[in-house]
Homo-oligomer: 170 residues x 2
């Protein structure tokens, strides 16, 4: 089964992100707006119990963190994806590192660029058309995130929650 | 903000439900297959903290329950919705009752008929066409559910998880 770990921003930020995703993100219906903390990994029923217990340990050692979006950016030319840029604070990097250190079967391939995707799988001309507009509108939000979520993927590509973990460290 | 409380069945059951929902349920993209334990209610940021704490109390007093689907049924002629019928065991009724007794602003309007919707908002002729076929195929699953989820709704109608509660009672 495929799993991933995410943080969901507040309803306000999700609604704003969805106003773009509805038009520009083919994953719009598969998952609500989120910041990925650990990308897709495989685990069976037994493995996920061990992993979930370790993620619970990480969550109980971490304080809630500030999620601050500082504007809109793009992964082009690597991939034509546009996103809300999330400030890479020390507390967020620490949370990501601890989650990455949990034993998964795969290894993380990318550097951690915290973000909330609002558009993806665009053609280059679509990208070049909408990116300057979105960039001008911007996205300035600041809020406290006090929980993370372990999700799993169904056969149709949609994501269901497996478990929530409160960031309850002092 | 709008909230609800659900249990998600296993991936196997969700995938099977989605094979129908994809075609017959306009809510397909808004939420993955689920059994509603407490229907939609309104709460603000403060109220939901109190409610979530009470739901946590309920969950910690309840044991995991058996979710057994015994076939396919329909709410017609009240509404043209078709669903996996879930056995109303004492443990499930007890969980539902305790959740219903938490203080919400609204009151529950319907009797509790545990189910997993697979088709809804059908015309009568669509309903009468597909219901006998689905009924013949059936849905026999039995599994243990050890957690429930508090969800909230975004402006576009989709549902995001707020919190998971383990049924940790002895």
């Amino acid at each position: 089964m495929k799993f991933g770990i995410v943080a969901f921003p507040s309803k306000t930020v999700q609604d704003f992100a969805n106003s773009y995703r509805k038009r520009y993100d083919p994953h719009y219906a598969l998952i609500t707006p989120h910041m990925t903390l650990k990308g897709v990994f495989e685990a069976d029923d037994q493995e996920i119990k061990t992993i979930a217990a370790k993620v619970a340990d990480v969550a109980s050692s971490q304080k809630p963190f500030t999620l601050k979006t500082t504007g809109i950016s793009s992964f082009a030319p690597v991939t034509n994806a546009i996103y809300f840029k999330v400030e890479a604070t020390n507390e967020l990097l620490s949370l990501h590192k601890k989650l990455a250190d949990v034993d998964y079967k795969d290894s993380e391939q990318y550097a951690f660029v915290p973000h909330i995707t609002i558009a993806q799988k665009l053609t280059s001309s679509e990208h070049d058309d909408i990116y300057p507009q979105l960039k001008m509108i911007g996205a300035s939000f600041e809020e406290i995130i006090d929980r993370i979520h372990l999700l799993y993927q169904l056969e149709d590509g949609s994501w269901t929650v497996h478990e929530t973990f409160r960031l309850s460290g002092k």
